[in-house]
């Protein structure tokens, strides 16, 4: 169930556009801010609020990598693996972080603590190799610094 606050915000988002569907992606992200992901029930409810069939909501939600249609861990780590970071040692950072968490990129730790994502260019090549932990960007990172950052997450 969506909270009253989320419903109010989605209503407000809808008012920004002449066409309700434009509010869909911002609405899904708003749901995710509160619930961590977008469940099938949430999709249906967002669809009702915006007057869209649930298939349309699901079609859009499944296209975008940062709309989670499965629950991620409590923390989401986005590790850049694109060229500038790769040239600056991102492969070693990735291996070290995977070892620290005991998972591979794309997985969530069994205790639900961290989801690790190998992502494309974060537009922070001046901080290569870089990663974003939840909403905070870090870099340039040595493998040890990166491992420490993910180990400190509760």
């Amino acid at each position: 169930m969506l909270s009253e606050a989320v419903k109010r915000d989605i209503e407000a988002l809808r008012g920004r556009y002449p066409v309700a569907q434009s509010a869909l992606i911002p609405a899904l992200l708003r749901v995710q801010e509160e619930q961590g992901w977008v469940s099938p029930e949430a999709m249906a409810e967002v669809g009702r609020l915006l007057g869209l069939p649930v298939e349309v909501v699901a079609e859009v939600a499944s296209f975008y990598t940062l709309i989670f249609t499965e629950p991620p861990g409590r923390h989401v780590v986005q590790l850049c693996t694109n060229v500038s970071c790769m040239l600056s040692g991102a492969e070693a950072v990735r291996e070290r972080v995977e070892r620290a968490l005991g998972i591979r990129a794309g997985q969530t730790t069994p205790d639900g603590r961290v989801t690790l994502l190998a992502v494309e260019c974060l537009a922070a090549c001046d901080q290569a190799p870089c990663m974003i932990v939840d909403q905070q960007r870090h870099g340039p990172l040595s493998p040890e610094e990166a491992a420490r950052l993910v180990e400190e997450l509760d």
């Binding site: 992606i25 992200l29 975008y64 709309i67 060229v83 260019c121 537009a123 922070a124 090549c125």
Partner: protein, 429 residues
């Protein structure tokens, strides 16, 4: 070295505050335009500045604005803040360092084009940039630079920040419009070629990149002649094997050698092997081109492009096969899947590169890659799939011996007849 223009204040910690921005001359251009200039005069200044879009395509901004029909009752301005071309980080630098510069650029562009509603499409990962931009927009509303009857004139403008949700393809302008309309970010069929004629909600739409709009307040304030005298100023994102990767502001047409020097030189004092001049969609160039002016015309002559002016530097130790394979993987993962040559071509190319890298390359693979590169060119709705061939061509022409070395060293060289007849009808079919 001349004083930077676009980056002049990005390192001032208070630049995101409206008082500081105003104290340093901010919003003077908007005041001047609203008091003294007609919308057409603003467009004319931009046209005379010879400003070209900084998102990648390099289309002349003034000309783009002139395509917008004057009498259309509803028009939109959309700002592309979906910076995602690998190696590019100048828009993020501007958004985080000088967000009011963009807000003022938005207001000027909206005034010039008779727009009342603007959307800033900002990629999801720009958390800090978005916070700074939203603060700047709120402050601009409070001070009367946005909203109803701006500075007491008849000009009104609302600006909304619209988040993306993780899709490189949304940086392509028609895919961005699809995404902004709440759909999958899949490029539209062209024609119509220009959103200026038919864009958001099928209405005339001005679509500009962040850096492009950040140039506009300076052009309006100081004039197009001054602007051209400054270089014109161009932001180059310099990264990879340099000592201090950073956004370098330099006159358009600066060479890679000079940019690398400004970024602290090559890491470890090594030599350059190659560099991408305009992001990974441009053709990477071998070191013998270090003294070519990085400008649209010269780079086009080399089969490359200025693109987003992201200079990715690779030193002599770089494995070009690995780099090119990584670049192709990126486009494979980011292909939206709409057009077959891009969706399938990127998969085939990466499969071939993967087996070359893993000691299973075949002698005929290089011809196969060349054939795939031909068939991915000019066959899709948008340039994403077409971003793969430039890297492949450079690999096959300038770094061929590296590919051949992998294939020669293949543990079990298995030669197979090539049965794919790409681009020609299959025999009997």
């Amino acid at each position: 070295m001349a004083e930077p223009v676009l980056l002049r204040y990005v390192r001032e910690p208070d630049q995101g505050e409206i008082e500081a921005y105003e104290r340093r001359g901010g919003y003077a251009a908007l005041r001047r335009a609203l008091r003294e200039l007609s919308p057409d005069q603003v467009t004319d200044l931009v046209d005379r500045s010879q400003l070209r879009g900084r998102g990648g395509a390099g289309f002349p901004t003034g000309r783009k604005w002139k395509f917008v029909p004057k009498d259309a009752p509803v028009k939109y301005l959309v700002v592309n803040a979906d910076e995602g071309e690998p190696g590019t980080f100048k828009d993020r630098t501007l958004l985080e360092g000088d967000p009011h510069l963009l807000v003022e650029g938005i207001a000027l562009a909206a005034y010039a084009n008779g727009v009342r509603t603007a959307y800033v499409y900002i990629r999801r990962e720009f958390y800090e940039a978005r916070r700074k931009l939203e603060t700047a927009i709120a402050q601009a509303y409070q001070r009367g630079y946005l909203g109803q009857r701006i500075l007491g004139t008849d000009f009104s403008l609302d600006v909304y920040v619209h988040p993306g949700a993780g899709a490189y393809i949304a940086g392509e302008e028609t895919a961005l419009l699809e995404s902004l309309e709440g759909r999958r970010a899949m490029p539209r069929l062209k024609p119509p070629y220009f959103p200026a004629v038919m864009g958001l909600y099928s209405k005339p739409t001005v679509l500009n990149n962040v850096e492009t709009l950040c140039c506009v307040p300076w052009i309006v304030r100081e004039g197009p002649e001054w602007w051209l005298q400054q270089g014109p100023p161009q932001l180059y994102s310099v990264s990879g094997h340099v000592d201090r990767p950073q956004v370098v502001e330099a006159p358009l047409g600066t060479t890679a050698r000079e940019l690398i020097e400004r970024a602290g030189g090559v890491r470890g004092g090594r030599q350059v092997k190659a560099f991408y001049p305009g992001g990974t969609s441009s053709r990477p160039l071998p070191a013998r081109h270090l003294d070519v002016p990085l400008r649209h015309e010269e780079l086009a002559q080399l089969g490359s492009m200025l693109g987003s002016a992201a200079v990715i530097v690779m030193d002599e130790t770089t494995d070009m096969v690995k780099v090119i394979a990584r670049v192709c993987e990126f486009y494979r993962d980011e292909s939206c899947g709409k057009c077959t040559p891009c969706r399938e071509g990127t998969v085939w190319v990466t499969q071939i590169l993967d087996r070359i890298l893993h000691g299973r390359g075949r002698p005929e693979d290089l011809d196969l890659l060349a054939s795939l590169a031909r068939n991915m060119t000019g066959t899709c709705f948008c340039p994403l799939g077409e971003s793969v061939p430039p890297s492949l061509r450079a690999g096959l022409e300038d770094f061929r011996e590296e590919f051949e070395a992998y294939i020669r060293a293949a543990r079990e060289p298995v030669s197979m007849p090539v049965r794919l007849h790409l681009g020609a009808p299959a025999p009997g079919g």
